[in-house]
């Protein structure tokens, strides 16, 4: 069983509004227990890093926050909504307006262009055409890939795809950003763009950012660090 060490426990008892509330969550795959009776909250607007060995369940936790994986028991409340009780359709619509996700494995649509990939979440969130154009241009510019907007994604390098993934996660200005090893596949220049955005930018300001990482540069930016102590047996 992996245990979660929370370094800043003051956050747990903090009064106020939480972006994420994890209530007695356990997760197992068959006989393998990943988490047992997790209970903690993340305040809105905080930048939290989750660190730990490879295979310790960091991505599982991130996916549970996004509603892409369900806990075996317990409740996860995101922005006041109990996502463990939502239907698939309700979860999809909730994610469209609430969560920006940069997964570790690329989930871009290879047949579409950079711009088309980035604007997809705006379509799901039913944003009007004029704002789709405006928001997409803005985020492409911010992430430094506006010049690549007409390229088909399958022709991009791994690092470039990661930048597109980052732009796509932020295009709808979601209150919560979930990033799974966001700097792992990036060269130093690209990593610096992402780190710059995480340090403080209009795109990331006042957002709750939850990031799994092994990169010390990322953990140094975080206000809180959660640590998964053990690898899953």
């Amino acid at each position: 069983m992996a245990q979660l060490g929370i370094l800043q426990r003051s956050e747990i008892s903090a009064q106020g509004r939480f972006a994420v509330e994890v209530k007695h969550v356990s997760k197992s795959y068959g006989e393998t227990e990943i988490y047992t009776d997790l209970h903690f909250q993340l305040l809105k607007g905080t930048f939290v890093a989750l660190v730990g060995p490879i295979g310790s369940g960091k991505t599982t936790m991130l996916n549970m926050f996004a509603g892409l994986d369900s806990p075996t028991s317990g409740t996860i409340i995101v922005m006041g909504h109990d996502i463990t009780k939502m239907s698939d359709d309700a979860l999809g619509e909730f994610r469209a307006g609430t969560i920006g996700l940069v997964p570790q494995v690329q989930t871009l649509i290879p047949e579409l262009t950079v711009r088309e990939n980035v604007e997809l979440p705006l379509h799901f969130a039913k944003v009007d055409r004029e704002n789709i154009q405006k928001k997409t241009d803005y985020v492409l510019e911010k992430v430094g890939i506006r010049g690549e907007s007409k390229r088909i994604v399958s022709t991009l390098s791994v690092g470039e795809k990661q930048m597109v993934s980052f732009a796509r996660a932020m295009v709808n200005d979601p209150p919560i950003l979930l990033l799974d090893e966001p700097t792992e596949a990036l060269d130093p220049l690209m990593a610096e763009v992402i780190l710059g955005l995480l340090r403080g930018d209009n795109l990331t300001q006042e957002k709750t950012i939850f990031v799994t990482t092994h990169d010390r540069r990322v953990t140094e930016l975080a206000r809180r660090t959660l640590r998964v102590k053990k690898k899953i047996p």
């Binding site: 469209a96 379509h123 055409r129």
Partner: protein, 161 residues
């Protein structure tokens, strides 16, 4: 600001799900073949026979287009997971495939009904112009409705599984 599904959005998602020109062609030709045969045969029979033919059109086309729709989703299961992670719902994806395919189903039905009614006339179909038009319209409506129901039902069924 909220709004309904746009043509561009439907095309974008259909491309994501690899709904190709071949898929459109399959839908159109199946609809045309069924409608042509029905439109020809419907001129050779009475009211009861016509009703049976229209029911047959509906059932066979709905089953066919449902299978095509299911196949689209089955081939794109990874893409669907990816789209779900950024906010897609079964409703939005079903609608995208539906709007992308349905036009070809209706066009195929209309073409098939036109050809079938001409063939029926040549083969000695009974009835006047008005009854022929009503029969052809019935074929187009039944086949279009069947294509719509089939595409939508196939998507929903695959999504749930």
């Amino acid at each position: 600001m909220s709004r309904g599904i746009s043509l561009h959005e439907g095309q974008l998602m259909a491309r994501s799900l690899k709904v190709s020109k071949s898929t459109h062609l399959v839908v159109a030709t199946v609809a045309a073949a069924v409608a042509a045969n029905a439109a020809a045969a419907i001129q050779m029979t009475g009211t009861v026979g016509q009703a049976v033919l229209l029911a047959l059109i509906f059932v066979t086309l709905a089953a066919g287009t449902s299978a095509i729709s299911s196949d689209i989703y089955a081939r794109s299961s990874q893409t669907i997971d990816n789209l779900r992670s950024i906010g897609a719902s079964s409703r939005s994806l079903s609608s995208a495939v539906f709007f992308s395919v349905i036009g070809y189903g209706v066009a195929g039905s209309a073409l098939g009904a036109g050809i079938g009614s001409a063939v029926g006339l040549v083969l000695g179909g009974q009835g006047g112009v008005v009854s022929l038009l009503v029969a052809v319209l019935g074929v187009i409506l039944a086949s279009s409705a069947a294509a719509a129901v089939g595409v939508y039902a196939g998507g929903r069924r695959t999504w749930r599984s």
